[in-house]
């Protein structure tokens, strides 16, 4: 009874569970403009994911598979549908996901797949990771919505994400963990697997027996794909930042229902990969006093962020593209050829920053 009264009071007074807050970008996440200084390697229509086998860097661009050679991108092949995730295999092969299907090829140019996973057990595979034992780890963001419909999954408070282990030898698919708030990206971490859970703004570590432990709580962003760093630790991408406006809308089911039914998804009050294209975009009003003058500003609808994590998953420093930048919607970052290569899905660019100088002046 007391709990019910307290819950009601909290709801009325905007306290406790009803508080709408967003953590600050500070400490290792202190904003900078480092992503804005990144070199644009390539502009392409629909970049989605990156994979490196050590020698070649592959780029998934819609249905096309590109290989980066120097400053030029060479089209390796075209698939029958858009690629949703990519991974280089230890045996020199390539794995590609197409939402509800994962295909394994002996090489990037092999016409026929060696193994195909799908058949209704997959829905929105958005990242693939090759494990040392030859298995593949796939994160399936949602069991109900497709890869491109991620914003709807968020607005429906989806929690049907899964982490799956695909066995190339047997063709078996084993679910390691389910019920995740949009699983989006995984990386091996010792015997465990580190997984991004976007809608719950956290990283979880999954043990071989399926036990989960939260490694990084309450991030101010929506985390996405992870990749290992050569010096130990990880690169974590975040495709956009949280705002109080979106957090507020996520507490309002009736509003969301009407918004989903009546408004063009482009103009939903939801995070986006890029913004500033139309006056119809929703804005969160805010203000800040600068030089003694009260100035309006808008918290970002889209944002660009890559976080360097140590082996324990703690942030060391971060690379940002802020509200006044363009390199937003970073969904993939991997080390290749002495550079950190990234995909900025907002401006549809492939970016790179030299690893040797990346942390200059950033480490706490």
């Amino acid at each position: 009874m007391i709990t019910a009264v307290r819950k009601f009071a909290n709801l009325v007074l905007g306290r406790g569970e009803a508080t709408i807050t967003v953590p600050s970008l500070d400490g290792a996440l202190k904003p900078n403009q480092r992503l804005e200084s990144a070199q644009t390697v390539l502009e392409c229509p629909a970049p989605e994911d990156l994979a490196s086998d050590g020698d070649a860097l592959y780029i998934a661009d819609g249905a096309r598979l590109l290989r980066l050679e120097g400053a030029a991108a060479i089209e390796v092949r075209t698939f029958d549908r858009p690629i949703s995730a990519l991974a280089a295999l230890a045996n020199g092969g390539l794995a590609a996901a197409f939402g509800n299907e994962v295909r394994l090829y002996s090489s990037a140019i092999a016409q026929n797949a060696d193994a195909v996973f799908g058949g209704g057990s997959l829905n929105a595979v958005n990242s693939l990771t090759s494990m040392p034992d030859g298995a593949l780890i796939a994160t399936d963001g949602s069991s109900t919505r497709s890869v491109d419909d991620w914003a709807r999954d968020l607005m429906e408070l989806g929690c049907t994400g899964r982490v799956l282990r695909l066995e190339p030898g047997t063709g078996a698919i084993r679910q390691l963990v389910g019920g995740l708030g949009y699983a989006f990206g995984a990386s091996p971490s010792g015997n465990n697997i580190l997984v991004s859970e976007s809608w719950r703004h956290r990283l979880v570590s999954i043990a071989p027996n399926g036990a989960t432990r939260v490694v990084l709580h309450n991030l101010p962003v929506y985390p996405s794909r992870l990749s290992p760093a050569a010096e130990g630790g990880f690169w974590l991408t975040a495709f956009t930042a949280r705002t109080q406006l979106v957090e507020f809308v996520l507490r309002e089911p009736a509003y969301r229902r009407r918004m989903i039914d009546e408004i063009d998804p482009e103009y939903w009050v939801a995070p986006r990969l890029s913004s500033g294209h139309s006056f119809k975009e929703p804005l969160q009003g805010a203000h800040i006093k600068t030089m003694g003058v009260m100035k309006p500003w808008a918290p970002p609808r889209s944002y660009g962020l890559v976080i360097r994590l140590d082996p324990d998953g703690s942030p060391l420093y971060s690379l940002h593209s802020r509200v006044d930048g363009v390199n937003h919607g970073i969904v993939s970052a991997i080390e290749h050829g002495g550079h950190l290569v990234m995909i900025a899905k907002g401006p549809r660019r492939v970016l790179k920053l030299p690893l040797a100088r990346i942390a200059e002046g950033l480490e706490a």
Binding site: T21, D26, N218
Partner: protein
């Protein structure tokens, strides 16, 4: 008429046979600003209290304009033209500015309108921006000080003594205060100025007198001093480099996030404030008075209760917490070392040991049925030794200690609670330089041990010397963050003001 307005010769004051000052010679010239510096316990306050008639000399002589005097009360001193502006101001908070100005000079029949008009004219003549009808309790520290100064000038003071006048002022207010003091000097008023901020003494004073252990060490023109020389004279050793002089070349890496404050609001002081504090680091929080720093951290520690409608969230180790009183916060591992130790820090008539032991008792959710005298004494002795509290024994009352040692007792009272997050609010305000070094060492040691440490300070050199990361607060929220390696005084001040 002699050039010396006030002088003391061989002035000695004994408290229970123990000399607070001994054989001190001091003189004050007409229209000069004379800084009086020394460690806490050096005898500065005693010397000035003698001049102001608060205490009387045990031996020695005092003269005003060549005439031997011995004021027995502050009123007698005021009649001699000596006024003192105390660190804790002596205004009546429930009265208006005008009533405070004319307090003690009321006529048989007082017309408020007349008092207000007179006060208005007088304040304007001094160029003081204070409303005479405002209640003093509602004024900020700077304005209260203006009222104190105005009262002294109104009483035709020839000598005004300021005890730590800038301790609670913002940098901008300090600048204004210095202009006021210089203006008083032009009017022929002599100023005695006690301050722990040595830069202020060097900047403002014509002459500086250094006291140590109740004895006069040196008096010379301010131009003959620099910071190092003053410090050496004060403590008998060179501390200037270990205090604030060395710039940080290395900072501690952040550990896990211990505290997250998210969109915290409590009008009018805290406005949508967000910040994080990490383990194993010193997070310095700088801001002008009124920037909402203290209020934010008082809310975190349960020292200040939030109203029903005020929003935001405080997360300790990623779990939402909301403390209405300090006890549960202490049990959860948060301690707040107050900026106002005399009011909130200790029971001044209790012994050191009892005060420290009270800190331990606060750690237990339901207190204790029986208290152990032996444990009290042992705890007191342990912490006196650990924090190098200079006292004859652990049964000494806290009121009898110097400011630095009182602060150590307050810190001991907090550290005995084995906190995870320690919030120091102005940790060295009113503390002598010797104790400052020791307190800074202690704060650094806590961060090295992996504790999350917050240092709130209005003193930039202190923030720069201690912090690994610096948060700048303005108008109720953190507006800028600097790594100690990139921070400069100019950058921090710019962020705090603009």
């Amino acid at each position: 008429m002699t050039d010396i307005v006030l002088s003391l010769a061989k002035a000695t004051k004994l408290y229970a046979g123990v000399p607070a000052i001994e054989g001190v010679d001091f003189d004050l010239r007409r229209g000069e600003i004379h800084a009086l510096v020394g460690e806490n316990g050096a005898g500065k306050s005693t010397l000035t209290k003698i001049m102001a008639g608060v205490v009387t000399l045990t031996s020695g002589t005092m003269s005003v304009e060549g005439v031997d005097v011995a004021p027995q009360t502050p009123l007698e001193a005021r009649h001699l033209g000596i006024a003192m502006v105390f660190q804790e101001n002596s205004l009546v908070p429930t009265m208006t500015v005008a009533q405070n100005l004319f307090l003690g000079q009321e006529k048989f029949y007082n017309r408020l309108r007349g008092i207000y008009i007179a006060a208005q004219q007088f304040l304007q003549s001094l160029n003081f921006d204070v409303t005479p009808t405002a209640t003093v309790g509602a004024l900020g520290a700077a304005k209260k000080q203006m009222v104190e100064i105005a009262r002294a000038v109104l009483n035709k003071a020839k000598v005004i003594i300021f005890d730590e006048p800038t301790a609670s002022l913002t940098p901008e207010e300090k600048k204004y205060f210095f202009d006021l003091v210089r203006d008083l000097k032009k009017r022929g008023v002599s100023i005695i100025f006690i301050s722990h901020a040595l830069e202020e003494a060097l900047l403002l004073a014509d002459r500086i007198t250094v006291l140590r252990d109740g004895k006069h060490v040196v008096t010379a023109d301010a131009s003959k001093f620099d910071r190092a020389r003053i410090v050496q004279a004060m403590v008998g050793r060179d501390l200037s480099n270990t205090l604030y002089g060395v710039r940080k070349t290395d900072v501690r890496a952040p550990g896990r996030r211990v505290l997250a404050v998210q969109n915290l609001k409590m009008a009018p002081m805290v406005r949508n404030n967000s910040l994080s504090v990490f383990a194993g680091q010193i997070t310095g929080v700088f801001g002008l008075v009124g920037a909402g720093r203290t209020e934010t951290f008082k809310i975190v520690a349960g020292v200040m209760k939030r109203d029903f409608f005020h929003g935001g969230e405080v997360l300790l180790n990623e779990k939402p917490v909301r403390y209405r009183v300090p006890a549960p916060a202490v049990q959860a591992g948060i301690v707040y070392v107050t900026e106002d130790r005399k009011v909130e820090g200790f029971f001044e008539t209790s012994s050191i040991a009892r005060n420290i032991y009270l800190g331990l008792l606060a750690k237990f959710p339901k207190g204790r049925m029986l208290l152990s005298k032996r444990e009290t004494s042992a705890t007191g002795s342990t912490w006196i030794e650990r924090l190098k509290v200079r006292a004859i024994g652990n049964e000494v009352k806290v009121v009898e200690l110097s400011g630095g040692n009182q602060q150590k007792v307050v810190i001991a009272k907090s550290l005995i609670q084995e906190p995870e997050l320690i919030i120091f609010d102005e940790p060295t305000r009113g503390v002598d330089v010797g104790a400052i070094v020791e307190i800074h060492e202690l704060i650094n040691r806590l961060a090295d041990e992996g504790k999350a440490v917050v240092v709130i300070s209005s003193y930039l050199p202190e923030i720069m010397a201690l912090s690994d990361r610096i948060l700048v607060s303005r108008q109720g929220k953190v507006v800028e963050e600097f790594s100690a390696l990139e921070a400069t005084e100019e950058k921090i001040m710019y962020a705090a003001i603009h």
